[in-house]
Symmetry: D2
Subunit: 129 residues, 4 copies
């Protein structure tokens, strides 16, 4: 269920129920920016992976259209990070998800994403690890 | 000038002039999603790296606040990708950038990002490769 | 506490506690689009008004930087609409808010907004109607 | 071609070519915020109106999904404002537009919007005033 980029980033994932997903990993030295925090692209990628898994969990192909990311706090090298995606709206042709990125109790970022649902195109992603 | 995450993703970069940046790389097999295209997180990371370099190119520390990404077209494994960041607005305390992500003639994604400028905090990033 | 544009749109508002705001109004015929639903700009304006009140409720001037709006469902002429703003993050220089726009049980739109806080500039907005 | 909300805000509009739109109006006293500038909701509404006209100009019904607004500079009471929408991407099922909001030479705000295109649903909006 993990795609190549998730494996490259050392991420793990589960889909607890249709429309939800949890993705987690560690802020390794190779994922840092110039200031010793997780790179914005790394934190986004965790959120985006959770968004992709949640939106494809209904068995219909979901293609990302637009996303929004708010960076709230810097993170620390070596810390664990997790992204939790929840479904805000599931329509016939589109759907919307919110993702929260946390490291322990700290809320690092919030993410919102919209997908286009290509009815008739099945995906093999489904609930479970 | 390349930070650890940019090196991990095999990216290269230049800052042609203050407020601008260009970041480029190759869509390697390890950066793909489940459908054989560049992962959304990978494309975003190139855009975000260009945004970070452009916004820090004035010598004042710039911290990402909010970003927006629109995915327009799928890309192909093996293709070259480049992100070009331009400054839309430079204020005393904040600044706004637009980034276009292209692969050859195809416009893959557009990105908008806002930073908070911490006047008094210098950065070592500057124009040039 | 209501500004001229809120009065023009017939909106009412309260600030139940610092960092929160509720704004409500009616979808009058003059606020419709060509399809007989509330205009996207009208729904946004309610959300934006709640965002402005919540972000200025601490007594420090808060200036809107970036906002994101997701339209989930169409609304109906004559319906009541309300926007509820909550604070996601309050930093020294910036803050982030989420707003939900509802009409009865229907979630019409979600909004995220970032402000720049001009410490040293006071505002007269405060908690209460 | 002007919808009720546009008339309420005193806006005028033209569609110079399919995929484009220009909307303009005056910052009247009743459209101000508490600080004597155009209300964020008013500036957004002009941008959103241009976005709606541009996206519906191909004769296929276009429904707004997600929008993003960056506020760059404050405006002044009495000033003229115009929003210019251009098409960034036109797909079969979705499309993306950028809007710039200006007052004279000043760039007040930039906006990005995504629509879902309901193929098979016609609209009566078309090019021309």
């Amino acid at each position: 269920m993990l795609d190549p980029f998730m494996i490259t980033l050392g991420l793990q994932a589960e889909v607890p129920a249709p429309g939800q997903a949890r993705v987690w990993g560690t802020i390794r030295p190779e994922f840092l920016n110039s200031w010793g925090s997780a790179h914005g692209g790394f934190l986004y990628s965790i959120a985006d992976a959770a968004f992709a898994m949640a939106s494809n969990s209904h068995g219909t192909l979901a293609v990302a259209l637009a996303t929004h990311m708010e960076y709230l706090q810097a993170s620390q090298a070596g810390a664990e990070v997790e992204a939790l995606a929840t479904e805000v709206h599931l329509g016939r042709g589109t759907a919307v998800y919110r993702v929260e990125v946390r490291s322990g109790p700290a809320l690092l970022a919030i993410f919102t994403g919209t997908v286009y649902r290509r009815t008739g195109h099945k995906t093999s992603l489904s609930a479970g690890r």
